[in-house]
């Protein structure tokens, strides 16, 4: 049994944009799984051909095989993307690690016709997010149910999501969060200060998608009405009307620095390492990568008071619940207290949010999925005794199970 568990298994990682990771949480996770799990198992990662040009594609990356499918990994195309990835993986993989529920509709068939082990990460409560239209919400709501019912193990990234799956499905979801130790504290150089003059003084920082569900409008308004410290905010302002309107309104405000999205990790780390406060307005999804990254950098945090954020920060951050509340919190900030809070949050992050820790948890789940008990054998042991012998003993009927 032990032998079987530790022997290398073929694992397919399905549902991410792909590696090398340039994108969100799942991709960064995959990158670290390749580094940490790759030594123990044979990994195959499915990548979106839409995001990797033919010239950048590799068949092997850090020892993991890469497969490209000509679909987007997000939006409605994620359904064929995940589905075909799952079907392709059935031909060779022992374990399917599926990140996201878009392809979950095939899982009942996978369970029925194959013996593959399925581990699925259901992400945040995707079906209720504002960015989806009604039909997508309906599908995701249904697919999440299928994913939980037909997987061997389902993963939540947050305790609050685990509470929800327990309430809705009556089953225990496993919690695995994200790592943050790919972020680095970058010392501020003279050139950097020349370029970003706000680095000289205390400032608040926030990086996120510019969407109403991240409370961007509240945060901008609150900082425009207070003068405790300036706010530096990075995001995709030009992608939506919401973002454009906010950018136009606050771009000239002396207390607010609006920056376009930054895809260079080093540059992003430089801008946030020295911040005196990290503001986190997310209302949705479980554990947000940007929040754990800020914790890992030891930044004090002022977060929206939703259960996910409270669980992630173990209730050690400061929370706001409304615009008035946020303005009040900013006005009452105490630098000495903030410093203590930052240290505490950093400790939590070092304990919980490191990739080696996360990858190890996934490793354990793979073992668990593989070792789920085989079907109990109900054939009586007497059938192994030769027939003549049984006949001699007067118990010939024990040769078969038919007599019962």
């Amino acid at each position: 049994m032990i032998q079987q568990q530790s022997s290398p298994k073929k694992i397919a990682i399905i549902g991410t944009v792909g590696v090398p990771a340039n994108y969100g949480g799942f991709e960064t996770l995959t990158e670290h799984l390749i580094e940490d799990l790759g030594e123990k198992h044979e990994l195959t990662v499915y990548c979106s051909g839409k995001k990797y040009a033919k010239s950048e594609r590799k068949s092997i990356y850090k020892g993991a095989k890469l497969k490209y499918l000509p679909f987007d990994a997000n939006g409605v195309q994620s359904i064929p993307y995940d589905t075909l990835s799952i079907i392709h993986a059935l031909f060779y993989a022992d374990v399917l690690l599926i990140l996201g529920v878009a392809g979950a509709w095939v899982l009942p068939f996978v369970r029925l016709f194959t013996n593959k082990k399925i581990i699925i990460s259901i992400d945040g409560v995707e079906w209720k997010r504002d960015k989806w239209n009604t039909l997508a919400k309906w599908y995701l709501f249904w697919a999440e149910g299928i994913a939980v019912k037909y997987s061997h193990i389902d993963i939540s990234d947050n305790e609050a999501i685990q509470d929800y799956t327990a309430a809705r499905y009556g089953t225990l979801s496993r919690i695995i969060e994200y790592g943050a130790d790919h972020t680095l504290k970058v010392p501020v150089s003279v050139e950097a200060i020349e370029k970003y003059n706000f680095l000289n003084n205390p400032y608040a920082f926030k990086v996120c998608r510019i969407e109403p569900e991240n409370n961007v409008h509240w945060i901008l308004e609150a900082f425009s009405l207070t003068n405790k410290m300036p706010l530096v905010m990075v995001g995709n302002w030009d992608k939506s009307e919401y973002g454009k309107a906010l950018k136009a309104k606050y771009n000239q405000h002396p207390n607010i620095y609006i920056l376009d999205p930054i895809y260079d990790q080093h540059k992003l780390d430089l801008l946030r390492s020295k911040a005196s406060l990290y503001v986190h307005g997310h209302t949705a999804g479980g554990t947000n990568p940007s929040l754990v990254e800020a914790m890992y950098l030891g930044l004090p945090i002022l977060a929206f008071g939703v259960s996910y954020n409270m669980v992630t920060t173990e209730n050690r951050a400061q929370y706001f619940y409304s615009l008035e509340n946020l303005i009040e919190s900013i006005s009452n900030l105490n630098m000495a207290e903030l410093e203590v809070m930052g240290k505490e949050l950093e400790k939590i992050a070092k304990r919980r949010y490191t990739w080696s820790h996360i990858a190890f948890k996934y490793h354990l789940l793979v073992i668990e999925a593989l070792s789920s008990a085989p079907k109990v054998n109900v054939v009586p042991k007497t059938t192994a005794i030769p027939y003549q012998e049984l006949l001699g003993l007067g118990h010939a009927h024990l040769k078969t199970v038919d007599s019962f």
Partner: protein, 358 residues
């Protein structure tokens, strides 16, 4: 005879306009009002005398327009039953009667109607069944009359719904009565339509609002069930028998199957089938964000769509297929609405979980 088809509904319409304002004051004075509770969707006390008004207006109009001949004897008997049911409904609206007593009275009335010769004699080929045994005729008639009356009563949950369904139903019935040469029945249906249109005017208004009350929904359900059976009986020897049967079934279909669907759900979740909740079709329509009028209109459209589907399939494959396809369409629509409702409930639940302090 022809001009009566205009005069009679006009008379009932005008009688309604005349009576309702006075009836409103009277019903407030005697406390015949619907008080809001957690299940109700309105917030003020609303007069409940719409049903009585409809009854008086149509009775007066029909007494002027129905011909004096021995043919109306069967209408007289139905009229007696309707009057008794109306009185029961008014008492129920004012004092709340026991459910078992109400059901008992309904069964007595259904028996009375049967004894007057109005009965379901045949299934006309549905599931390949034709003429029924005598005892089965009796049981089926009682079950259908009592079932439709109660189903219609349950549908009366949002503004304009019961009246809207009744207007569509009586319109279809009137057409069926005309094509099978039953002008007196048609006159009754059209007269009811006149009164119901006037009722809708008040029901949907904000300052002169009235409800039809149990009294109203019970008598309308009863008239639909009884006259529907009568329509089919009288069409038995015509070439339109399948059309008439399907038309009547399609009109009564949604209230009946929605009630059965709700009962089944309640039993499955271990509750009494009569425990009140908010899972009726009209509640589900409200959860997709429709306002009352639109939700009612949507359900009326749904009945229209089922009717159309039924007639198309009847034409192609026959009556059994028509009914099965209507059942399937209804199942699909109600499942989608149910699903939407489930999502909304979970959304609310999650919001609660999210804001609970960790």
């Amino acid at each position: 005879m022809n001009s009566l088809f205009f005069i009679s509904p006009l008379a009932s319409f005008l009688f309604m306009l005349l009576f309702v304002p006075t009836m409103r004051k009277a019903s407030i004075a005697v406390g015949l009002v619907d008080k809001p509770n957690f299940r109700k969707v309105h917030v003020e006390s609303i007069p409940l005398l719409g049903g009585v008004s409809i009854f008086i207006a149509t009775t007066l109009a029909l007494s002027m327009t129905l011909p004096f001949s021995k043919d109306i004897i069967v209408y007289k008997n139905t009229f007696i039953a309707v009057t008794i049911l109306l009185i029961m409904g008014v008492i129920d609206d004012r004092y709340d009667l026991r459910a078992s007593l109400k059901l008992g009275i309904q069964i007595v009335l259904a028996h009375f109607v049967y004894s007057q010769g109005i009965m379901i004699e045949s299934l006309h080929g549905i599931l390949g069944i034709y003429q029924l045994d005598g005892w089965l005729q009796y049981v089926l008639t009682i079950v259908v009359v009592a079932g439709v009356v109660n189903a219609f009563n349950l549908m009366d949950g949002i503004d304009g719904l019961a009246a809207g369904l009744a207007i569509l139903g009586f319109s279809v019935f009137a057409v069926l009565a005309f094509i099978t040469n039953q002008p007196m029945l048609a006159l009754v249906f059209i007269t009811y339509i006149g009164a119901l249109i006037a009722f809708l005017r008040f029901n949907l208004s904000s300052n002169l609002k009235i409800f039809m009350g149990d009294a109203g929904s019970l008598i309308i359900g009863f008239i639909m069930a009884v006259s529907g059976i009568q329509l089919i009986q009288n069409a038995q020897d015509t070439v339109y028998i399948f059309q008439v049967s399907l038309g009547v079934i399609a009109i009564l279909f949604v209230p009946v199957f929605d009630a059965l669907r709700v009962f089944r759900r309640r039993i499955k979740s271990g509750k009494s089938p009569f425990s009140a909740d908010r899972t009726h079709l009209h509640h589900l329509m409200l959860t997709i964000g429709l306002r009352h009028k639109m939700a009612s209109l949507g359900i009326v459209f749904m009945v229209g769509a089922l009717l159309t589907l039924g007639f198309i399939i009847l034409h192609i494959k026959g009556i059994t297929f028509a009914i099965v396809s209507m059942l399937i369409l209804f199942y699909i629509i109600s499942s989608l609405l149910q699903f939407n409702n489930k999502i909304n409930l979970w959304k609310a639940r999650i919001l609660e979980m999210e804001s609970a302090k960790a």
